[in-house]
Symmetry: C2
Subunit: 220 residues, 2 copies
């Protein structure tokens, strides 16, 4: 398959494909001559993954590159690769040092994770991400305690147990496993987020007993 066909099949314009090649998101094709390269199904597949992470997951290109680097790097072992992929998916947040609210929130998060017995790396950026939500909620006048978060935590664990983890072929080829993990994390995550918003619309409509019809336009 040449680049024009790859473009036609994926719907991604040629200049964009070239951009992904430059950025290292897409591996080079099989160079058959100075001005010709051959692309295969794996390129199409990779391209679809990139577009999914970009369009549905709204991940920045730099994060996608890290995920892909983790998938492609044959040296690092399975578990480290999953970790790298996981951390590439988090939105980094740099807490202001010496901030009392932040310290407190981080402690709450750490205590909760420990209390739940979860195996989360002590330096996982995800911990700060959760602390950020806690701090922000407090500043907005809606302080959050561990008891407020625990039902969310156990619901999250149930979802992951029942639906994500069972779909990931941990015993299969490593690249397929990481790819599946990333897809589950991002796409099922998105799907759940949308379902939550749908549920919230439905419930608030029900509570107010009105018809679910805003007068304004429905575009963002």
């Amino acid at each position: 398959m040449r680049i024009s066909q790859l473009s036609a099949e994926s719907g991604v314009p040629i200049p964009t494909i070239k951009y992904y090649l430059r950025e290292g998101l897409l591996p080079q094709g099989d160079q058959t001559s100075a001005t010709r390269a051959e692309y295969g199904q794996e390129h199409l597949r990779r391209l679809r993954l990139i577009r999914a992470l970009l369009e549905v997951g709204r991940l920045p290109v730099a994060a996608i590159r890290k995920v892909i680097a983790a998938v492609d790097d044959e040296r690092i072992d399975f578990h480290d690769m999953l970790g790298t992929a996981h951390y590439a998916l988090s939105t980094p947040v740099e807490p202001p040092p010496e901030d009392e609210d932040w310290r407190e929130a981080r402690e709450l998060v750490d205590r909760m994770i420990a209390g739940l017995g979860w195996s989360v790396h002590p330096l996982a950026p995800t911990r700060d991400e959760l602390a950020q939500s806690v701090v922000t909620l407090k500043r907005l006048g809606m302080p959050t305690s561990q008891e407020d978060l625990l039902p969310y935590a156990s619901a999250a664990l149930d979802l992951v147990r029942d639906l994500d983890i069972t779909k990931i072929p941990f015993d299969g080829p490593r690249d397929v496993a990481v790819e599946t993990l990333v897809i589950c994390e991002v796409l099922y995550g998105k799907a759940f987020d949308v379902l939550r918003r749908l549920a919230q619309e439905s419930e608030s409509t029900r509570i107010l007993g009105a018809r679910p019809c805003p007068s304004g336009d429905t575009t963002r």
Copy 2:
């Protein structure tokens, strides 16, 4: 309070505050003379809301403006205001017309919402958002059925029932209610997302029986 104090208390630089004023995110202060305006607690509060939606919710400024317009517009009624706020929070997606996969996905979504008995506006952009995830999962070789989504849907409903809706003072002043709804939707949504990723890290670590420690750096 003058602008410099507003800046000091909120941590937002003065030029940025001016930018928010220009963009209509922040109401003008009380003009006491040609070159002086007075800001109050409500400005500080609004500024914190803006930053929360921006930094934690990653909402674009245009969406925040719509949310705020809904809160501030006294003409539209309570329920319509909630609807407007809701739809401003969704990420719009324009499905290619005449696409078979999309049609099918939208049908699945509509059937599921109807089957659950949820009160969701037929034109809610959220429906297409969910359809997008379904289409993308299919294209990535992980087709999704209603049965796959139902547990997610009921978990979402439980969460909203137990934690979000109970926190929203539907009987109080309308602006407080919408603001609370938005905060719940965005911040608890984010918190749950992080918890899900933490749970996933924990579970995949447990399944692989390894230490939760990637060799690479942990930054995005």
